[in-house]
C-alpha cells in the first residue's frame, strides 16, 4: 500500500444563511493513497463541490478539521492541488498552448519552458497541431481536453476533477473516459473525480465513494477490483453490472431521501 497522499480529518462545512445554520458537509474522514483514482458520486446538491472547494483551498473548512498532504497538515492547499471545475474556463484571448500553460505560468515556470513542456504533452491529449488555435474554434470535447491538459501540466500531485465531462454528448464522453483512464495509468497521479454518472465512476475509479444527501456524509465506500487497462466493453461485463447495481441502490435511497427532505425540512 502506498503512503497517503491526502488525508482529511473531521473536515466539515456549515454555511450561515440569513442567520440560520445550514450544514452541508458532516465531519468526514478520508485517506487517499498516492496514485489512487478516487471517484465520488452522490445525489445532486449533496455538497460534492463544497468538498472539492475545501480540498482546493478555495473554501475554509469549519474549525477543527485538518487537511494533510503527504502526512503534514496544511493551512491552505492553494497552489498545491490541480483543480478543474465543471466548465472548461478557457481564456478566449489565449491560444490553446497558452491556455494550457496557465497553471505553470502562475507557478513561475518561465514561459518558454512551460510552452516546451506543453508541446511535448499535447499529443497524449490529442491536441497535436492545435497549439495555435483559439478556444472559439474548438469543439466541446477538445476544449475539455485543453482544460484537462492545463490541470495536468500544473505541477501538483493531487488532481481534483469536478464533473469534467458533464456537459459533453454521450459519444464524446465515453471516448474521453477511456482516454482519461489510460492517462491515469500512465502518469500515476492521485486523482479525485466527482461525477453523478455511476457508470463513469465505476469505469474510472480504483475506489468509489457514495455520499449521502445533504448534509453529506459517507454512505458507501467501494473498491473497484476491475483490471486495467479498461476497455469500453467492460461496462456490460458481469462484475461491472453487479457493482453498478450496488451503487445505484445506494444512490437511489439517498436521492429519494434528498427529494423528500427538500420537500419538507429544507431550511430555505
Amino acid at each position: 500500500m502506498n503512503p497517503d497522499k491526502l488525508t482529511l480529518e473531521r473536515i466539515a462545512k456549515t454555511f450561515a444563511i440569513e442567520g440560520r445554520h445550514l450544514p452541508v458537509l458532516r465531519p468526514l474522514d478520508l485517506r487517499v493513497p498516492e496514485g489512487e483514482f478516487l471517484t465520488v458520486v452522490g445525489p445532486s446538491g449533496c455538497g460534492k463541490s463544497t468538498l472539492f472547494n475545501i480540498i482546493a483551498g478555495l473554501l475554509p473548512p469549519d474549525p477543527g478539521g485538518v487537511l494533510r498532504i503527504d502526512g503534514r497538515p496544511v493551512d491552505s492547499p492553494l497552489g498545491r492541488v490541480a483543480y478543474m471545475p465543471q466548465r472548461d474556463l478557457l481564456l478566449p484571448w489565449r491560444s490553446v498552448l497558452d491556455n494550457a500553460i496557465l497553471g505553470l505560468e502562475v507557478q513561475g515556470v518561465p514561459r518558454d519552458e512551460a510552452r516546451r513542456r506543453a508541446r511535448e504533452t499535447m499529443p497524449q491529449f490529442g491536441l497535436a497541431g492545435f497549439e495555435d488555435f483559439y478556444p472559439f474554434a474548438l469543439s466541446g470535447g477538445m476544449r475539455q481536453r485543453v482544460a484537462l491538459l492545463r490541470t495536468f501540466l500544473f505541477e501538483a500531485d493531487i488532481m481534483l476533477l469536478d464533473e469534467p465531462f458533464g456537459a459533453l454528448d454521450a459519444l464524446t464522453r465515453s471516448i474521453l473516459q477511456e482516454w482519461l483512464a489510460g492517462i491515469a495509468v500512465r502518469y500515476r497521479r492521485t486523482i479525485l473525480f466527482i461525477t453523478h454518472d455511476v457508470e463513469e465512476a465505476i469505469f474510472l475509479g480504483d475506489r468509489l465513494l457514495v455520499l449521502t444527501a445533504r448534509p453529506a456524509s459517507l454512505k458507501l465506500e467501494l473498491k473497484v477490483p476491475l483490471p486495467r487497462p479498461r476497455r469500453p466493453e467492460l461496462v456490460t461485463s458481469e462484475p461491472f453490472v453487479a457493482l453498478k447495481r450496488q451503487v445505484l441502490e445506494a444512490i437511489r435511497e439517498e436521492s429519494l431521501r434528498s427529494f423528500s427532505t427538500q420537500a419538507t425540512v429544507e431550511p430555505g
Binding site: 483543480y83 478566449p92 496557465l102 505560468e105 502562475v106 483559439y134
Partner: protein
C-alpha cells in the same frame, strides 16, 4: 449559396447605396425646387466650400481635435484609475458615487460656462470638460468590466496559487476590455461633440468657434462646410477606435460575429447612423422652414428680438402695452432671442416677420450672403461698444496703448479697435490684443490694461464695482459710427404686405418715443416681461439705450432714421476688413420709404 452571398453583398453595400441616394436626392431636390442656398445648399456646393476654406477649417479642426484627444486621454486615464480604486476599495466608491452621479446627471453644457470662467478661453477648459465626460463613461464601463469577471475563472487562478496582481493581468484586465471599449467608442464621438460645444460657449478657435462665428455672421455655406468637417472628424475618430478595438478584441464574440457576417458591418452601420442623424437634422430644418414660410397671417405678425427680454427692446413692449399696435390693427407676438439665435436668419427664412437685428454691419453681411433682408429703420445711432482703461493705468490717449494688453470680443469689436488705432496713426500690431472672456475679471485684476465694454452692461458692472475713474474710448469720437439694432424684415414682406410693414414701423416708433419720454414707466413695462430682471440694471439700461437712440441723427431727424453716411461708412469699413466679398447695394439693403411715411409727431422726441 448564391442568394446568401448576394444578401451579404447587399448588407455591405446597402448603407453606402442609401447614403448616395440621399445625397443625390438632396442635390436634385434643392436644385429643382430652387431652395435658397441660405436654407439648404446642395452637397456639392458644401464640399467645394469646404475645399476652398480648407486652411481655416484645417486649423479649426486641429484645435478641436487636440482638445478632444487630450481630454479623451486624460478622461480615460482618470476614469480607469478611479475604476481600479473603487474596485479594490469599495468604500471609496460609496463615498464618491453620489457626487459623481450628481455631477454627471447635469448636461456638461450647464457648467461649461463656469469651467470657462475658471480656466479661461484657452484649451485647458475644453480639455477638462471633455475629460469630465469621458471619465464618467470609462469609470462606469471599466468598473462593470472588472466586476463581471467570471468568478469560477478567478477561483481557478487562485487554486493555482495566483495572487491578485497575477489575476489582474491575466484575467481581469483582458476580460474587462470589451466593456471598456464600448465606453471608448462612445467616448470618441462624445469628446468631439463636447469640445465643439465648449468652443461655441467660449473660445476664439476651433470648429465650435467657427460654427458660432459663421452663424452670427450668417455665412451659411461655411457653416455647412464646418458641420461637414465636424461630422467627418467625429466619424473618423469613432472608426479609428473601432479599428483598434477589432485588433485588440478579435477574440471577443461581438467582433467575431461581425467578422463572420460582414467585415465592415460595425463601421458601415455607424457611419450610416451618423449620416442618418445628420440628414434627419437637415430634414427637420427644411420641414420647419417649410411650415414657417406661409406663417405670415393677415394682421398677426411676429417680432423676434436679438436677445432675452430687457430694456434694450423697451419700445415694442410699450407699443404692445399702450395699444399702439392695436391702433394699427396688428396683433404682435414678441419672441425673445437667446444664445445661438440669430434673429435675421429667422426673418430671412420667413419664420418671423420682423426682428430687432444685429446692426447695419450684420444687415450688410447678410445681404452679401444672399439673405433677402430689408431694414426699415435702425434704433441705435451708434454702437454701444466702447473701450475702457483705468485712470491709474496712465492711459489717456490711444497712442498710450502701444505695448499694452487690450482685450476685445472677436465678434466684430476687434475691427473697431484696430480702426480706432489706425485713425490715430497707431499700428494695431503694436498693441497686444487678447480675447476677452465673458467676465470683466481680467480687467479688474489688471491682467489687461484696456477692455471692451458695452455701455449698458459691462460699463455699469465696472461702476457697480466702485470703479469711477475710467478713461472711455468711444469709437464714434474717432469717426467710427456703425448704427446698431436694425428693424428688419424680408423682401417678401415688403413686396407682399407693405402696409403691414408700414403699420408695424409706425406703432413701434411710437412705442420707442413713449418709452424714451417715460422711462420709469417703460422700465415697469419691461419688468412685466420678465419679473426676474433687476430693476436697477434695467433702469440704467433704459437710460443708456435712450441715449443711443436719440444720439446724432436720432435727435435731428427722428427715431429709427438710417443715416446714409453711417451706412456708407459701415460698408467701407466691412470691405476694408474683408467682412464683405463685394459692395452691397444699400438701396436694396434698406429703405426709408416706410420711415418717411411715419408722421413726425410719432418719431421725434421732444
Amino acid at each position: 449559396m448564391k442568394s446568401a452571398a448576394a444578401s451579404v453583398r447587399a448588407r455591405r453595400w446597402l448603407p453606402l447605396g442609401l447614403g448616395v441616394a440621399v445625397l443625390l436626392a438632396w442635390q436634385g431636390g434643392v436644385t429643382a425646387l430652387r431652395v435658397p442656398p441660405y436654407l439648404l445648399p446642395p452637397p456639392t456646393t458644401i464640399v467645394v466650400k469646404a475645399w476652398a476654406d480648407r486652411e481655416v477649417l484645417a486649423a479649426a479642426l486641429g484645435t478641436t481635435m487636440v482638445e478632444a484627444l487630450a481630454g479623451y486621454a486624460l478622461g480615460n486615464a482618470v476614469g480607469f484609475g478611479l475604476a481600479l480604486l473603487f474596485f479594490y476599495r469599495p468604500r471609496w466608491e460609496r463615498l464618491a458615487l453620489g457626487l459623481i452621479v450628481a455631477s454627471n446627471s447635469v448636461p456638461v453644457i450647464a457648467f461649461a460656462p463656469v469651467v470657462i470662467i475658471w480656466f479661461g478661453l484657452g484649451i485647458v477648459a475644453k480639455v477638462l470638460l471633455v475629460a469630465f465626460v469621458t471619465c464618467f463613461l470609462t469609470l462606469q464601463a471599466a468598473l462593470q468590466g472588472l466586476r463581471h469577471v467570471d468568478s469560477q475563472a478567478e477561483s481557478l487562478l487562485r487554486s493555482f496559487g495566483a495572487g491578485e496582481a497575477k489575476i489582474f493581468w491575466t484575467l481581469r484586465l483582458p476580460a474587462s476590455l470589451p466593456h471598456l471599449f464600448t465606453a471608448l467608442r462612445v467616448g470618441s464621438v462624445r469628446s468631439v461633440i463636447v469640445a465643439i460645444v465648449a468652443e461655441m460657449l467660449g473660445s476664439y478657435r476651433g470648429l465650435g468657434w467657427v460654427i458660432f462665428e459663421t452663424t452670427s455672421s450668417m455665412d451659411y455655406l461655411r457653416l455647412w462646410a464646418t458641420v461637414l468637417t465636424a461630422s467627418v472628424a467625429g466619424v473618423g475618430f469613432f472608426l479609428a477606435v473601432s479599428a483598434v478595438e477589432r485588433r485588440a478584441l478579435w477574440w471577443h464574440v461581438s467582433v467575431n460575429e461581425g467578422r463572420r457576417r460582414a467585415r465592415r458591418r460595425s463601421g458601415g452601420f455607424s457611419m450610416a447612423n451618423g449620416i442618418g442623424r445628420w440628414f434627419t437634422c437637415v430634414a427637420l430644418v427644411v420641414m420647419g422652414a417649410a411650415t414657417a414660410l406661409p406663417a405670415a397671417a393677415q394682421d398677426r405678425v411676429s417680432l423676434r428680438l436679438k436677445w432675452l427680454h430687457q430694456a434694450q427692446f423697451a419700445g415694442y413692449y410699450v407699443a404692445q402695452e399702450k395699444g399702439f399696435y392695436r391702433d394699427e390693427r396688428l396683433e404682435v407676438t414678441i419672441n425673445p432671442g437667446g444664445p445661438n439665435i440669430v434673429a435675421e436668419n429667422l426673418v430671412a427664412s420667413g419664420a418671423e416677420d420682423f426682428a430687432q437685428g444685429g446692426g447695419i454691419e450684420s444687415l450688410l453681411t447678410g445681404r452679401d450672403k444672399g439673405l433677402p433682408l430689408v431694414a426699415s429703420g435702425v434704433l441705435f445711432q451708434k454702437a454701444p461698444t466702447v473701450f475702457v482703461a483705468k485712470k491709474e493705468s496712465g492711459v489717456t490717449r490711444l497712442e498710450d496703448l502701444v505695448g499694452k494688453k487690450v482685450s476685445t470680443w472677436y465678434t466684430g469689436p476687434q475691427f473697431i479697435l484696430r480702426a480706432m488705432l489706425r485713425s490715430q496713426g497707431v499700428d494695431p500690431a503694436r498693441v497686444i490684443e487678447v480675447p476677452q472672456p465673458v467676465t470683466m475679471a481680467p480687467f479688474l485684476r489688471n491682467e489687461v490694461t484696456v477692455a471692451a465694454a458695452n455701455t449698458y452692461n459691462e460699463l455699469q458692472t465696472l461702476y457697480a464695482e466702485g470703479l469711477r475713474d475710467l478713461v472711455i474710448f468711444d469709437p464714434a469720437d474717432f469717426g467710427i459710427v456703425i448704427p446698431r439694432d436694425t428693424i428688419v424684415t424680408s423682401e417678401r414682406m415688403v413686396r407682399e404686405k407693405p402696409d403691414v410693414v408700414q403699420r408695424f414701423l409706425r406703432a413701434s416708433l411710437r412705442g420707442w418715443k413713449y418709452a424714451i419720454e417715460h422711462q420709469a414707466e417703460a422700465v415697469d413695462i419691461v419688468m412685466k416681461q420678465n419679473p426676474n430682471l433687476k430693476k436697477d440694471h434695467q433702469t440704467v439700461m433704459m437710460r443708456e439705450v435712450a441715449r443711443l437712440v436719440v444720439w446724432g441723427p436720432g435727435k435731428e431727424r427722428g427715431i429709427g432714421y438710417i443715416d446714409r453716411r453711417a451706412a456708407e461708412f459701415t460698408q467701407k469699413f466691412l470691405l476694408e476688413n474683408q467682412q464683405l466679398s463685394k459692395p452691397v447695394a444699400l438701396d436694396q439693403a434698406y429703405t426709408m420709404r416706410f420711415w418717411d411715411a411715419v408722421p413726425v409727431a410719432d418719431k421725434q422726441v421732444k
